[in-house]
Symmetry: C5
Subunit: 361 residues, 5 copies
């Protein structure tokens, strides 16, 4: 196996040809940590490691079970049995690198999202699967740590409107929290792009192109996470079952609006990043021009002068005849030659200045 | 926090995970300044700081309340109560960077537009939200100063057709005013592009690429403002409520036509701007060629001559033998060598002229 | 105001915020010249400056009123009154830079086209607006001079099928004449592109890029005129009023076919023009390579030779010792050194020839 | 008129403004050569120059009239009369450069195809128009010579299934023959692209770019011929008249599949051709780098050495003082200087080797 | 015929114009090897070389006949007769280079897939055709060796769910196995792209561009295989016959999801590969800059020094006058000149360092 972390996400799956619906748990996955919130207009109960009898939904109450870590196939199978989750949904929940999607099974809706890791400098996301059924929401995360704390805070607040609504509103709140978590990610990325823009002009080099490509790749990864989320929300709003209430649909429209905003910002960033490549090319080419101009100026001025010096370094014998370099014996020969050289150099400098080449050095 | 103004608009939102419909007023926002126009076929009343009892719509009259500045959550809540505005609409009205959109709520339509700032040299836009309900239009702007003065003038004109129609015609007039405000913006941008085109040829350099990119970015920003406006108008024309009359729809079609015109002009500008990059590259490359040709000409002519001078600067002793540089002692040695050099230089110049390199210097 | 003609068409409109339907006549526009053709199976009457009573359509006859020049608002208003033309249509008819479109108003259809100026070397087009109503066609042109003469000739021909049909066939004939007028325009443009292609290879330079861009811009302008015409024709064929007969629709399909042909030719030209940029870049780069190769060859051959000449120009005293340049005193020293130089030069030339650099000079 | 053949196909039409349906025969067109096949389950009759009474379809028999050459308007009008062909169809049949299309007229279907010339090294195509009516197929070609011989052979074979079916199957067989004729065309083009790829690396130059562009242009032309054929087949399969039987539709689907295969191959070739441009650019740039490196190596090594030689060529008088070039008089001066030069040259070569520049020469 | 394997897949077909439905067997194709699996809830029978009477489907049992090798037209015709396969389907099954597709014939569904060869370093695929009928699945492969072994293993497992379902589930399992086989192919390709990325920076050259192009071409080929598979699955899920059960459709949706994942990964790889071209260009350009900078530095420093040395190598006679190079006779002349040279070289180095050119060497 490869030991380096691959640079580009590669799809992973259960072994080719294995039967669909197989719960192929990644052996390296963290053991599940369960946490339950059971609430209704009457009150809220939080249970850290719920027993099976705590899990089953009860009338008039909403159950939110969060499963962080997907390393125990038997436990997951048991949970699937309690809530009536479809084997294909469970298979997707445990296999990473699913694309965000919405699917309706007989007994529950199934939503896959990519949740950005707010702590990372570079964009990284883990998969969150959400099952929305009659009176319950079950969420599966790859590992503990998520962006759901504000939702938990709202549930804990007795005055929150969230408590008075059904499981569909909780599902919306969770989806909304995931989408909102992309805003600070894009904010940071925007700052990095601006910083890179300054560097590219100041000091072009192949490292810069690599940095631009890294950013473009992050943009692709974020787009790959948000783009299908938009379709997911459309599918949720179009859903013809009665699991999602009319009022929740209005809120989902709002949610989709945020997804659109994110996508437009991404589009802008993509164009800016594409422009960075051109900027880099131009900077490189400009630096090359500068170097060439210096060479040209120095060489063009000194080459004729050196030739003249070479001529007067020839060893023709001035005694050999009238035209055999008599100037070597003239008293003013040397000063005149030096002056001629100065005049030539001056004329060349003037010519360069008129060409605008000196001003640009 | 960053103190520099970010170069690329970044989406901003209420804190991630906060409940939707929260009126998250920007603490730096200006305090609202209200102005009311109440009119009907009978007449027009303008009230600068209307009291709550002035606000409520009355039968047979149209109320236009303009709110400039969004810094007072309590006041905005009160206004929402009076006109029956939906919490999600209010949330969108106060948060900047919404994309232009049209939404229908139970008691009113909700329109978001981006209004260009006509005074700015570079394109900048503020958000305008418009609520169109039964007998009223409420507009929310980020700050005082807008493009609605011609609409106000038409309302003040007793002969204006606008007075005799419903709130939908007023809404159209306001949307139309915003779209029309983009025409001078594009006019100015077109002039800047032409000016830049001349500069790029005359003096290429990495600054030019940066300027081209700035313009491309402005084009993207304007497109991002107008493109969804087109969809907004389609949605308004398709709207199946009776809040928008058949005649107003004809006028909206006209309005959409203008949006199309703007988008086509933008498309042309985008292609021209993309062409500028190529033009710049070609200019840079051409300048480089010029520099190289001068170096080549000078070097190519003088290198052989300098070599000859070097040969006759060798210190072989002419006394050593018959073939040991006897020419150094010849009376015509020096003139012959100088003439040979002149001939060689002349031949090279001729050759260059035939190659077409001298003509292009 | 700017006195230079802008290079890129910029949308113009009535002052922002002015009421729609305002007849904002351009003060610089030419005064209208009216010409009327009134015909039916029975005969044809041509009236150069028709009186108002000549204008009104009469049963069994078709009236074609051509208005060339849009500088008289009062007259245009009067005409609109006679034919029942909608204010929005009139506004569009007098404002230049409308995009081609088809609109149906209650009492007439309204068509905007861009008519190419057949006399111009570069593509330029003026706006033609056409109102098709019950028994009449009114056309508005910016100035006298059009592509309708063949239609007039057909009307004057008593045997022409055109006389026996309704106003819809006349409208088709006029639209068809406008579309056909683009064929010679593209023919000329094709010739210019081919000529430019030859020049780009022979003599690349930044002027060429500018010329390529000018052509690309013309292609964009032509496309901007034809593309919406295609939609216009679709809308006409789909039109559910009975103003356009079934047989005319068959002819419109033929007409649309021509628009498709034009668009495909344009698409080809666009790709060819895009290829010209690459060709230009390659030519430029090749010319640079040629120059560099000459420099390299000359320099590479003479630099070592000059070094050798420099060595034997050193002033070490051969009397100082056994190894202090004794060759300066050898009788064969000079010939041997010269021969060595010739050998070195020959070897270098051979090496260059094997590298294929001499063959490409 | 231009005497050179234009490089890019330009649309041609009857003179602008002429009435539609005019049979504008190209005066340079070949005179028509008619050939008739009349067949049924009973047998087959082939008539080379059929008389008018041979042409009319008879019940229980299928007539295929092939018209090669379009230079006789009167004859074509007569044929149109016999088979009831629509004037617009006839106009399209005789005017070259129609795009492939399917149209249904009252009395017949009308199909335009572009038939590749199998003998040409470069892609060229002539127009084939096909009228499919009740019991007859009429085909119009620009000139004799076509790809229909296998269809003729099948008709002559008494056992062929084709004989037992209607005119729709014959039309399918002809369309299929035209589409299949593109396969060898693409095969040859693929070989030319591969050959060009090898040449571009071995010997880049502006000729190569021209060759790449020629191939891209051929690809465009082929795509322009096949792309609309795909739509044509869709339209035929969707056709709601009963002229095309259910079984023939299954065969048309097969035919469309071949069109799809051709288009995918074209798409691949287009990407490969686009890649050739990059390859060419890289080759050119690499060749330039090679040249520059040779210059740099030679110059960099000899410039310091020549300087040293220059220093010891200075004419300071060693008698003038202790520090006035006493080394000129040292017995080991010359060998030491020569050794120093060798050492410097060696160090530079080593440095270049470490930089990896010598290995790439 | 060509003996080199063509680099780009070229479509192949039966000879142009041949009747459709002709079983044109490739003479070079391998002779068919048949293997049969007949199963039901009761048990499984595997027959290696089944006799004709073994083949026919029996009620309550599912038959899977796998035909590996397509070189025997008579046998294939016989099989088509037994299972009632349509001639067009058979023609497609034996002709390579069909694009993946789904077609429904009267008596069976017909599916074409491209199966990747898992053993190959470079992507290569063979065609698999699958006929799904009442109680049977027949698969045709170009040659023995496939990705179906996991499916066979599941059939051999008495506990497998596959045994209890109909032929549609078997067809799904086979299609799923083919799609899953692309995951390791993309995994390997991802590794090759990363490796190439490192090489491009370290050692740019035209070979790299060729390698990038080879990878881009592989990406195109894989995309050409998967893209239509997605449509195929959509068509299967939309299929309105009852050959595909509701439960199988849920599994097909899962299958389509995998196809989407593959396509997204491909899209990412395509963008990365496009970025590699830019990276290569930048590396090449950077290497050129490096070389030029070394030349410039060395030349710029030594050219003035060499000129000075040249001046003092001039043979003016110091005896000729006061200004005729008296410094040649000064005791400190030589040291002063040498020091001046050192100062000039030092100043130039300083200037270069301030320009940032030395730091980048």
């Amino acid at each position: 196996m490869r030991h380096r972390k691959p640079r580009y996400a590669r799809p992973r799956r259960s072994p080719p040809g294995s039967p669909p619906g197989l719960l192929a748990v990644d052996p390296a996955a963290a053991p599940p940590r369960l946490s339950l919130m059971r609430y209704g207009p009457a009150g809220l109960a939080e249970i850290a490691d719920p027993a099976p009898e705590d899990l089953a939904p009860r009338p008039g109450e909403i159950v939110w079970l969060n499963v962080a870590g997907l390393g125990d196939a038997a436990l997951l199978q048991r949970l699937a049995g309690i809530f009536g989750l479809h084997p294909l949904a469970m298979e997707d929940a445990v296999s990473h690198h699913q694309r965000p999607k919405f699917e309706d099974y007989e007994r529950h809706h199934f939503i896959v999202l990519r949740m950005p890791d707010p702590g990372d400098a570079r964009f990284s996301a883990e998969q969150v699967a959400l099952c929305l059924g009659e009176g319950f929401v079950v969420t599966f995360q790859e590992r503990p740590g998520d962006v759901f704390d504000p939702v938990r805070a709202r549930l804990r607040n007795p005055a929150s409107a969230l408590r008075g609504h059904g499981a569909d509103r909780l599902a919306h709140a969770l989806v909304d929290a995931v989408i909102d978590a992309y805003f600070p990610v894009l904010e940071r990325l925007g700052e990095r792009i601006e910083a890179l823009e300054d560097i590219v002009v100041a000091d072009p080099g192949p490292d810069r192109i690599a940095a631009i490509h890294a950013i473009r790749h992050e943009l692709m990864a974020i787009r790959g996470a948000i783009w299908p989320t938009r379709d997911l929300l459309s599918a949720m709003m179009r859903d013809d079952s009665d699991r999602i209430g009319a009022q929740t649909r209005v809120y989902l429209r709002d949610c989709q609006d945020h997804a659109f905003q994110l996508l437009e910002t991404l589009e802008t960033y993509r164009e800016v990043a594409a422009g960075l490549v051109e900027l880099h090319l131009s900077s490189q080419s400009n630096r090359m021009n500068e170097v060439m101009q210096v060479l040209t100026l120095i060489a063009t001025i000194f080459i004729p002068l050196t030739f003249i010096a070479g001529v007067y370094g020839m060893n023709f014998d001035p005694d050999a005849g009238r035209f055999a370099m008599p100037e070597l014996r003239w008293a003013w020969g040397y000063p005149v030659v030096m002056a001629a050289m100065a005049v030539i150099a001056g004329l060349l400098v003037l010519w360069f200045r008129r060409k605008g080449w000196l001003g640009r050095r």
